[in-house]
Structure formats: structure tokens, C-alpha cells
């Protein structure tokens, strides 16, 4: 992956910034309006999770190419408390923040190749992609 831009996430205003950067990059890669909206919605949720659970972190946006396809890669990383039980967090309706409980499963439906790495006490890195067809 080639990283195109990294956005520091500290407050809700940075969520808007991450969405705008994501929209610009996805548009530049030629995604359709529907795909673009799905990508931006996922970025918004990932950035919100950082603000909500870790307080601060980064969203990196990148481009990945293989023989036939181009894709956008979104990496959300923080040094927050980490996810204790990833399997549980992936279930619809589960939330520890008293919030919505549809974060991760929803993001997975919007994107492809969802990868979660998390160490309790050290932080979380979530990588999602979307390929252009």
C-alpha cells in the first residue's frame, strides 16, 4: 500500500476532515457515487471509534494496486485500551461504550478485507479496503 495521506484524529472536527480526505481520494480513484459514500461512511465510523474509545489516533488513507485492480485502503490506528474480545465486538448489537453497538459489523458490510489487530492495553489497528471493479 502507498499511503496518500494521514489524518490525526483528536476531536469530532477531525472526523469531518478524515471524511473529506477520503472522499477526495476515492473520487480521484474513480469510485462510483454509491461506493464513495460507503467508503466515506466507513471512514467516519472508524474515526468516531478512535475519538470514542481511544481519545486520539490516526486514519491513514492509501492506494493498493495488484495486476487487475486498484483499491483504497483505510487504516485506523490508536493506542487506546484495545479490544478484549474481537469475536464479540464483531457481533451485531454489541457495544461497550453504551453507544450503538453496530460499529464493526456495519463497517465490515460497507468495506472488504476487514482486518483487526488489537492488544489489550496497547491499542487497535483496523485495516479495511475497497476494490474498484
Amino acid at each position: 500500500m502507498t499511503t496518500a495521506v494521514t489524518i490525526e484524529i483528536r476531536s469530532d472536527a477531525d472526523i469531518v476532515e478524515a471524511r473529506q480526505q477520503g472522499r477526495a481520494l476515492a473520487a480521484q480513484l474513480g469510485f462510483t457515487l454509491v461506493e464513495l459514500t460507503m467508503i466515506v461512511t466507513a471512514i467516519s465510523e472508524l474515526a468516531r471509534n478512535i475519538v470514542l474509545y481511544a481519545g486520539k489516533g490516526q486514519i491513514s488513507l492509501g492506494i493498493e494496486r495488484n495486476h487487475h485492480m486498484t483499491g483504497i485502503v483505510v487504516v485506523a490506528s490508536d493506542e487506546g485500551p484495545g479490544i478484549r474480545d474481537i469475536k464479540l465486538a464483531m457481533q451485531d448489537g454489541y457495544s461497550t461504550s453504551g453507544g450503538l453497538g453496530l460499529g464493526l459489523p456495519g463497517i465490515q458490510r460497507l468495506m472488504e478485507d476487514c482486518r483487526i489487530e488489537s492488544t489489550v492495553g496497547h491499542g487497535t489497528t483496523i485495516t479495511v479496503k475497497r476494490w474498484k471493479r
Binding site: 469530532d12 469531518v16 460507503m38 461512511t41 463497517i107 460497507l110
Partner: protein, 126 residues
């Protein structure tokens, strides 16, 4: 970014013109709650035609707005959700359950008008 709120007869029309931060959404909620009381409004329209992304927070805030305004005795209609935004909302699992929606401002106003006449008609019968 403040959302302009227009008073039109018994209704308030809030037109969201740009991407809102969480703080902006909360500000919108506060303003609408105040103005419904000040103008004794019966209906509120939140026009989101220009909104290009609705994440879980935006959905929840809109749902809260509709519920709170209902407790104040007025009715809320969310209008103008774009097709691609609707698609993403459903994929995300974030819907506006319990909130009245309409295609656009015109349909939203027509709904509030019908609703108002129903109220008045019901009153005269009893």
C-alpha cells in the same frame, strides 16, 4: 457551521447545507428544541438533501431530535435522504426507525399539512 432554521407558518424548516460535525448536530438539536417552544410550531422539517454522508452519530441525533420534538407536541419529518446515503445507512445498520421521512421538502410539507388537517378534523368531530 450553523444550520439555518426558517419559520414558515406553523412549521420550522431546518436545511442542513454542509457536512456537519457532531457539535453542529447537537447545536441543531438545541436550536430546534428552543424554537419549537418560541414559535409554538406544530411541525419540523429537517432537510438533509445536501448531506453526503450519514454515519451512526448523525442517525442517532436525528432520531433523538424527532423524539424530543414529539415530546414537545410537534412532529418531525426528515426529507431529502439521497439514494446512495440511504444505501450506506442500511449497510451500516443505522436506520431512522420511528422517524417520518419524505422524498423532498414538498412531500414533507404536504405530510405536515395532512397531519395538521387530521388533527383539526378530529377536534371538530368530538
Amino acid at each position: 457551521m450553523q444550520v439555518p432554521i426558517l419559520k414558515q407558518g406553523a412549521n420550522l424548516i431546518a436545511t442542513v447545507q454542509t457536512a456537519l460535525s457532531d457539535a453542529d448536530f447537537e447545536q441543531l438539536r438545541r436550536s430546534l428544541m428552543q424554537q419549537v417552544g418560541r414559535f409554538r410550531s406544530r411541525g419540523v422539517i429537517v432537510d438533509v438533501t445536501a448531506v453526503d454522508v450519514m454515519d451512526s452519530f448523525a442517525c442517532r441525533t436525528l432520531r433523538d431530535i424527532a423524539l424530543m420534538i414529539a415530546l414537545r407536541g410537534a412532529e418531525t419529518v426528515v426529507v431529502g435522504i439521497q439514494p446512495e446515503v440511504a444505501f450506506s445507512m442500511v449497510q451500516l445498520g443505522s436506520t431512522l426507525e420511528g422517524v417520518v421521512t419524505a422524498l423532498d421538502l414538498e412531500e414533507g410539507l404536504a405530510y405536515l399539512d395532512r397531519s395538521k388537517r387530521r388533527d383539526e378534523g378530529g377536534g371538530s368531530l368530538s
